[in-house]
Structures are given as structure tokens and as C-alpha cells.
Amino acid sequence: MSQIAIEARNLVKMFGNITALNGLSFTVTQGEIFGLIGPNGAGKTTTLRILATLIKPSSGYAKIFGYDVEKNPSEVRRIISYLPEEAGAYKNLSGYEYLEFMANFYNQNTQEGKAAVEEAAKISGLGERLKDRVKTYSKGMARRLLLARALMMKPKLAILDEPTSGLDVVHAFHVRRIIQEYAKTHGVTVLLSSHNMLEVEFLCSQVALVNEGKVVGQGSPHELKSHYGVDNLEAVFMEATKLG
């Protein structure tokens, strides 16, 4: 029986008078690539930030592999990796130095660290350019470096916020392929958010539709399309949120 990777229950998050999450709940099973889809301001990034231990829910709870994100943030940080939407890398470090710096937080010995950096070099496909400073990278190259960083430690859960945001077709294709292959090969659970319905349909085995801080529908892309009697996730989303 598969283990529960993420359990989010009735998450509420208030920023002053603004309700970002309004009782959001969903469950992710180990090994899944799970997609959160929804419009801007739906609460996707807030959910991911709570799961990544950056912010705390106002009420409700979230557990990652049994660890409560609020009560056991240190344990959670050991088993996750988080890629924020607009993440950057340290511009004055080389790609290698950046990967080494990040790997050193997870590995107790140099050998493990080196292996992780080599793995990241492979994932990123940046080759010799890893010796150059990050400030010389294009947006696509930087995103590939960051994704490699997020996956190199073979985390139990990778939380990826808009992994292909702002990338051209070629780089976006490369990034999607990496995520898919990595999850399959290493059994890494992936939770990602995206605006791109095609991307979600291509990558995710399970999808949650988020609108106004709540999950308004959940299932596999196929199940959702059948349920709403439409032929793509975009139409599913419009039906589910009654925006159409």
C-alpha cells in the first residue's frame, strides 16, 4: 500500500484581511506527480509555501510523510526540496559552486556531496557552462540549474512552483522531461503548480483544481475530463469554477 506523501486538511491562511486559503484540503500519494492548477491568486503558491515550511497556516494542518509542517519543520526540510516560481541562484557563484553550496546542507560527507553535484550536472545538462558564474546564464539555463538543485538530493518530495514559468518551448520541454524521468526513476513524489494545462496533463497523474483558496475538484486528468464531459483540462477548470 502506498504511503501518504502530503496530507493537507482545511488549510486557512489570512494575510491581514485577505483570505489566501479558505479550507483547502488534498492528499498526495507517494511517487505521484501531483498538479495544483488554478488562476492567479487562487492560493497555489501560498499552499506550496506552507508545505515548504516558509509560512504557517492560520488554521488547519499539513503533514508531509507524517511530519506536521508547523510542529516539525526541521524534519520536513530534510526530506523536501522547494523550487519557488521566481527563484534565482547566487549570481556571483559558478553553477558548480552553487550546487556544492546547496548539496553541503544535506550531505554529511564529501563523497555524498560530490555524487549529488555530479547528479545535478547530469540533470541540468549545462556541461562546461557550470564552471561559469550564474550571472552569465540565460533564464532557461538558470531554471535548469535550479531544477537540478531541487532534484539532486533525491528528496522524498519535490515542491515545484511553476517549474517552466517564463521558459521558451525548448527549455520548458527539457525541464518537463527531467521532472518526469526523475520521478519515475527515483520514486520522488512531485507536487507542482502550473498555469499551463497542457503541461499538467502531460506530467501529472493527479490534479487538484484550486480556486479562491479551495480545492474545487480533484482526480486524474482523464477522470476529470470524463466527469465534466470535456476534452481538455482547461475546459474542466472552467466548468469546475463556473467561470465559463
Binding site: F15, R49, A52, T53, L54, I55, K56, S74, R77, R78, I80, S81, Y82, L83, P84, E86, A87, G88, A89, Y90, K91, N92, L93, E97, F101, M102, N104, F105, Y106, Q108, L146, R149
Partner: protein, 431 residues
Amino acid sequence: MVKGLSNLINKEIKELLRDPKIMVGMVLMPLITFPLMGAAMNISTSTMQESMRQVSVMLMNLDKGPLAESLLLMLQNMNVTIIETSSSTVEEALVALSQSNITTLVVIPQGFSQNLTLGLKGKIEIYSVFESLSLAEGIRSSAVEVPINLYKNALVTQAIRQAFPDRDPLTVLDPISVSNVAVVKGKIVNVSSDVLRSLFMSQSLGFPMVIMLLLISATQIAATSISIEKEEKTLETLLTVPISRLGILTGKLAGSVVVAAAGAIASMIGVDYYIGSINAMVPTQNVSLEDLGLSITPLSYCLLGVMIFVTIVSALALAIIVAAFSENVRSAQSLVTPINFIFIFPSLILMFADIQMLPYPVQIVLYAIPYTHSIIASKAAFLGDYFTMLVSIAYVSAFTIVTLYIAARIFTTEKIVTARISLRRLKLRKT
């Protein structure tokens, strides 16, 4: 934890030192600017000294009497080059002067010798041409007055000798001798008060200035190290890796201390060269603080070290608190600038005044600012006043603990991610 911390400190130092703004602004600028300033001062001073050594004057001697001749002899003996002009009027002589590279015209009018012989006032006219309005030009114009004053003294001495043949002319001229004795730490010191004053001045100027520079650069570095993480969107990733938030805060503080220390050392090397250049211009009496019993004891050194350390840590924590609310490097530096006033205010006041001489309200304000105590402690170190040093350390340490606590609170809550003060929004609110 230790590995994570050293990893973070290494990265901080690497990143900060590779940042051209910090490398150039904090390390290279002081290393280049101060010696350049010193070299410029040296060049202008040596030019000035050279111009004083080679004084040339144009002379219009309308008197030709014996006393005018003896005055000329005295000028020549004091290395003044005299070029006699054949002009008959001052206007003509000034035209001749403007065509030469000489800037001073000395006119000895007719009747100079006769007047002096008769006991009347002799008259000399000195015309100085000012073209560049430089300091050297002003000094050069007054250089010719020195031998003339000596000549005047010689005339007075001669007159006194004739009037009072049995008395020493110098005693008649200066009948009261004033002996200025300095007492330091209860001991009579055989050095004039003027020399001591300038020595204390250089000591009391030096430390507050270094502390001020150090704190300003350290806060800028600390603020940059946090805000650059926000600007480059690296902070969120860093906050999700397995290292405690306090570990991240400590790493940031330690990295900033190391870079600030590099900046401080660069500043001190630069300032030392600059001060050395200035000292080289002024002949000083060979007096050191050790000679006066004002040397710093090993214990004072240790206490001073502790003082500097807690001062820097508190300033860094303060900068980190402020930078936590910034959106980017520019807004962080703007937000940190007001903090600089609390370093500059006590430093400037205490460079020139003793705190107890100031009005009570100013004293209260100054005592409330922790950085005042850093300067007070530095002065107490020279006097071996351990009690004052310990009180100052206690006050600054208490302030440091409070600022560190607040910084830690911000780092351990989501405020470090969500807090934002938008300068644009503030400006809009004002309008």
C-alpha cells in the same frame, strides 16, 4: 549544524567579496582613495615648502640709505632672491612684476633710513599678486615678512641696548615667563600642553572615526547580504534547506563581520597612510602615549576587543532587522541609511567634546545611544578606567542581545518572507 554554518559563512564571504559593489566600495576604495588623498596632500605640501624655500621678490629701493642696505643684506642672508627693478613708480614696477614669474614687490620708499635714524616710523610696502588663490600662493606672499620681522626685532633690540645698556633686551621685551605644565593621571609631564593637546586630538579623532567607518560599512554589508537574497529570490530556497533559521542568521552575521573586518582593515591601512602623509608635513615633538603613562594595558586591549565585537554585532543585527523589511538592495540601503546617524552623531560630537561638558539633554540622548559607549570605552582604555569600560560593555551587550533577539524573532517567523516596506508606497502615502 557546524558544517551547515561554515558552508553558509564560506558562501557569504565568496558572494560578498565577488560583488563588485562591495569589493570596490568597501575594500578597494579606501585602499586607493586615502593613499591618493595623502599623496595629493604630500605633493601640494612639498610644492608649498619648495615655494617657501625659493622666495624671489622684486625690489624697488627708492631709499638707498644704509638701513635699507642692511635690510637687503638680511633678506639675502635668509635665501630671498632679490631682483632690483629700475622702475620709478609702483605702477611701472607692477607691470614689470606681471611680466615676470615673481609675485611679490617690495618697495622701500625714500626716507626709510632717515626716519628710522630720527626715531620715526620707517615704511615698507609689500605688493603681493594673487592669481590662483591657492594656499601656497598665500604662504609665499607672507614668506617675505619673516625676514622683515626679524629685522624689526634687531632694530628694537638695538634701541633697547642703547636706552638700557645694563639690561637684557630680551627681558625688556618679554618680562614674564609663562611655564605651561601638563599633569596627566596625577603626574607632572614634562611636555607642553600644546603638544599634548594635539596628541590627544589625534587619538580622540582616530578611534571614533574608525568605529564610525566600520559600523557604516558593516551595516551596509549586512543589509546587502539579506536584501540581495530577497532581490535575487534566493532567500526562499535557503529557508527551506535543513539548517536552522538561527544558523542562517549566524552565518549572515559572521560573513558580514569577516567582510566588514576586511573593509575596516583596508580603511585603517588607507587612513594610516593618509595620517602618515599629514604627520610628515608637520614637525612633531617625539612624544608617545607610552611616555605619558597612557599606554593600553593587555586587559584594556581585551576589553576594547570585546567592546568592538559587541558593537559590530549589534549594528549588524540592527541592519538585518531593517533589511528584512526591504524588497531589494536599493531599498535596504535606503532603509539602513537612517541607522548611520546613530553612529555618526556620537562619533562627531565626541571627537571634539567631552560628554560631561555637554548640556544635560544632549548627554541623555548621547548616553541612550549604545554607540556612544563604544567611544567612551575607547577613551577609558587609554586611561586604564576598567569600570567605565565594563559599564559600557554591559550596556552595549544588553542592546546587542535585544537586537539579536528581534532579528532572531524575525528570522524564525514568516516575517522574513512576508515583511515588505515599499519605498514607493511610503512616498505615495506622503503625497
